[in-house]
Symmetry: C3
Subunit: 441 residues, 3 copies
């Protein structure tokens, strides 16, 4: 409510008729004087009295005007709650936000191999972020599932023009899918490219977002769980650049390039594996096992996306080259292409380098049916090279999303694993029916 | 503060004397005209001037009235803090709440067996719940003790008349004790029936609460910690119905029935055990051990409760029938009866199917002594049947509760284990002195 | 914004010219009557009309004054966000605060022994505290790093004059370094005396803080992680007294004494070890190993601190005497002396018994350079006595702190281990370059 009282009081000030309209009295007095009804002496006394009272009224009006101008100063703090909590000072210097994310999954796995049907709390997160003294930001994000894990948690400086410098625990800048929040992926899980994505390390990162391009670069140490006594931790560097030659009015054309180099810590082991686009059972359908002698790897990716009102499409391709002290160097790769179409008058929400949450134009409970979206994706991942037989997999996924109101989403996915060639589950192609209920803000 | 400024400003509008009371001036002008002191022409000019000024005043009054009516619009957001934090929009569409619970226990165990005296943080919980777009709710509840555990965490829809549909991690609908919050149990711990209670699973649940009855039914998968690769998770269904033929003015008569069927997951093990109504040491005084071949079980319970002003009583009885693939099917049972009496002018707080937190009528620090309550309970539990010798136990517990102000409670319990027959601690009957300091909102 | 609207409206009331200044009209009427221009009857009617209107005006003014006095009542709730969140009722009865702490470290270890270079999230904490019904307080503090750990979490009573009584999980009252928050230590980590500090147990503690002295005493059970079935938990008692004969205007002279006695639980093991004033690698450079037969210990410390505007100094010395059932009783000791100097016009913030967070006088982004501080410390620790050869270590640390704005701090430390004599790393003296980025409120 904070910001409308002063505005209206301001209007109030302008119209305040606090000087009595004494002109008719002055007129009468003048007429009586003119008609000789009052003496000169009486006339002077009357005018003096009138003058004194008018001066008094004007002075009081001035006082009130000044006082009311003070009332019209903006409020110091604004509080809003639209699915989370946001408290900010109106001078823009300070802000505190509480945000959360809850995802509830259930899956039915059919066909070989036997995979565990069941339910899962996929994410239960609470994030506290804020701004202090205009130019400094912080975030603390925690996932309460599976015993708890710290997510993006950093301190940052935003005093540069349109750029940020952050220090702390952050995801590496790689891949359109992983740069967009898990809450905004069009299908329930990200694609098979997840085998190469989503690493979080402690480091320093700079980024900038503009309407037609974005750039991010960072240098990282090891993850937050890694605390070794003797062996130096690993480190890495990475960068991502995106361009959006078209980005206006729900029309988007996006391209991106990213690369990430990582030097493992002296005793670390490298392993790539992936579940079949559902994460209820915890079953890895392709898996390199520990790659002996792996010391460094370089991962590179290209991305493309397009939005045309209700329709959207995106594709990514990524390669990971592993250098080893034992055996041949190996390379793995994967990619996906996906397309979505809103049955309702809605559109994906491009945020200058990644995708935000769709905002249904017509809410359930307000005469609308929310936003409904159909999505299809083809994914492929090859974790077999030289002596490492992790397996190759192709998968087709169909999905339906319902956003009844902003912040809520209910999704159903049908995942059809087309082919698994090599690795622990070679020749076994499960089909999965997966549903998710999601609250995210 | 949000909601009183506009109300008062509204009053302000009505009483505003913004049209000057010009009637005495008009009277004077008329008299002078009547007495021929002013000419017709002068008289007309005076009346014109007076009229113009009065119109101007009326117009300004109208402007101000309209402006002030805008000020009297309700505030958009209300913030309250009475032991927690609640931010809501005044249109009722959005709400965010932070709630917490902290319980600090100390116990002295006497007699055989030797059990560890000591202290314990029994619960340290933070819950974030809210409402978005009127009809949708969410909750995320976490217990920070013992490495952390997710508690009731769900998404729900409340757009039905007086009913809720929720999805997520929830406690099964069974038993008056477990349907009432741990913060509101009259004795420090729930009764020996705890051996059969408090399971939380991921599922879907519908419930409704009316003044004279309540009903809940749900279907569940497995718990949030269960993530298996190959073996399907377990599942269950349950329902609870309560009736309250009397429920007004601190007079309550409550009956309830509940049943819960559970199919264990393919590799799950079933085990029932219980501590002696104190949970500081972690010592299980009766314990079936793992029940070989258990595949499903059905648990049923009856409940009764009554409140008559300061006095209250409740009783529950529950049976659990286990079907096995190995050995005979087995059944276990237990029950309790308890009664409480407030020494002060206070009463239990019945909430249409469970008990809420007592609100002391006279606060400490405000001339009162808070609420003081005496409670006694007899509990019995039989975990022995066929080849499963878990033990049978009877116990008598006496308690004193002090609620100095709402949200705070200090309790002392004396637990006298009367008899332990069979099982790991057969013939050993400890006595326990247990105290708790509790903050809960 | 809550508290300025009423203040200004109050001023508004005083200056409100709501009685029309009718004195000139009365003057005119009297003159006309005196000049026989109006009859007696007319004069009386005019005066009656004037009187009635003036009474009406006075009455309306009275109404408005009363209404506006209501508006000037203080707001019910105040919300502030200056790096955290604070919601309080203006009657002082209720308050809720959210506070946090995030510390991001990176370290480069040189020389022998080989210690792991790397990064670390040192602390990621969220604390919820509050006040209810004036006299009762609570706190729930959690560190999300390393799987999560409950920190100070208690319920307390503050209804005594200037004193508190608290129950729950709390740090023992020992040592100036550990009584001051980790966010406010002048060097990144506390000194080698950390081997003897920072234990948290569940218990009860009373304390009071005055301008020239403070006193704390507590009795404790075991820690929050300790839950044993059979063996009684340990317990302890401790007290600390400080005096500050000088404490005004950034001039402080502080002395302190503390002692803590602890009886271990029946199966507990006692061990003292310490890292070299950096906690990135987790490497303990001195370590007694488990001390066989340890049953109780007594720890005593003396403290001294002084502040003179930009300059500060502090020193502590501590001894721990262990009584054993096996072998000789043993004693360990340590101490440090440190001094800091602000390059800018700033000063340490003494809070009557411990040190709070420095508040830079000139903020970055507001024309200032923040606060810059140089610090040096010499620490020594001797963990060798009788058959226990934990090692003796001396260390010199230099540090630079930059506080660009309140709540933020960036620090760089150079730690030079001068000598390690005995124990697992005898003769190995590493040098460490350590940096920290810190947000704390």
């Amino acid at each position: 409510m904070s910001n409308f009282v002063p505005k209206l009081l301001f209007v109030f000030v302008l119209g305040l008729p606090l000087v009595s309209h004494a002109s008719e009295l002055r007129l009468l007095i003048d007429m009586l004087h003119e008609n000789d009804m009052v003496s000169e002496e009486q006339y002077d006394r009357l005018l003096a009295e009138l003058e004194q009272n008018q001066q008094q009224s004007a002075k009081e009006k001035q006082q009130i005007t000044e006082q009311l101008e003070l009332v019209t100063q903006p409020p110091e703090v604004e509080v809003t709650t639209k699915g989370g909590l946001r408290v900010s000072t109106t001078d823009g210097q300070f802000e505190t936000r509480l945000r959360g994310r809850l995802m509830i999954d259930a899956a039915d796995y059919d066909g070989a191999p036997q995979i565990a049907d069941g339910t899962n709390i996929r994410r239960a997160r609470l994030a506290w972020s804020g701004r202090i003294f205009s130019d400094w930001i912080y975030k603390l994000d925690y996932d309460f599932t599976d015993g708890g894990e710290l997510k993006d948690s950093y301190i940052g400086y935003t005093g540069f023009s349109q750029a940020r410098l952050r220090m702390g625990l952050m995801e590496i800048p790689l891949g359109l899918q992983y740069r967009s929040s898990s809450a905004n992926s069009q299908l329930i899980e990200r694609s098979l490219l997840g085998a190469f994505g989503g690493d979080r390390y402690i480091g320093m990162m700079a980024d900038t977002k503009r309407q037609h391009w974005s750039a991010t670069a960072g240098i990282f140490g090891d993850d937050a769980n890694e605390q070794r006594e003797r062996n130096d931790e690993g480190w890495g560097v990475g960068a991502r650049v995106t361009m959006a030659p078209i980005n206006h009015n729900n029309m988007v054309l996006h391209f991106g390039l990213a690369t990430f180099y990582r030097h493992l810590n002296d005793q670390a082991t490298l392993r790539f594996d992936e579940q079949p686009e559902a994460r209820v059972a915890g079953f890895e359908i392709v898996d390199t096992g520990i790659i002996p002698g792996a010391r460094t790897y370089t991962r590179s990716g290209v991305e493309w996306a397009a939005v045309g009102n209700r329709w959207s499409a995106q594709a990514e391709y990524m390669v990971t080259d592993v250098r080893r002290t034992v055996g041949q160097d190996v390379g793995f790769s994967g990619g996906h292409i996906q397309s979505g179409f809103f049955l309702t008058d809605d559109s994906l929400n491009y945020e200058n380098g990644d995708f935000g949450s769709p905002q249904p134009n017509h809410h359930v409970g307000d005469g609308g049916v929310g936003a409904w979206e159909l999505v299809a994706r083809y994914s492929t991942l090859d974790l077999t090279d030289e002596d490492i037989i992790g397996g190759e997999i192709d998968s087709l996924t169909f999905g339906l999303n319902w956003y009844p109101v902003p912040m809520l989403r209910f999704s159903a996915n049908y995942i059809n694993v087309l082919n698994v060639d090599g690795g622990p589950s070679s020749g076994q192609e499960p089909r999965i029916f997966l549903v998710r209920s999601q609250w995210a803000f």
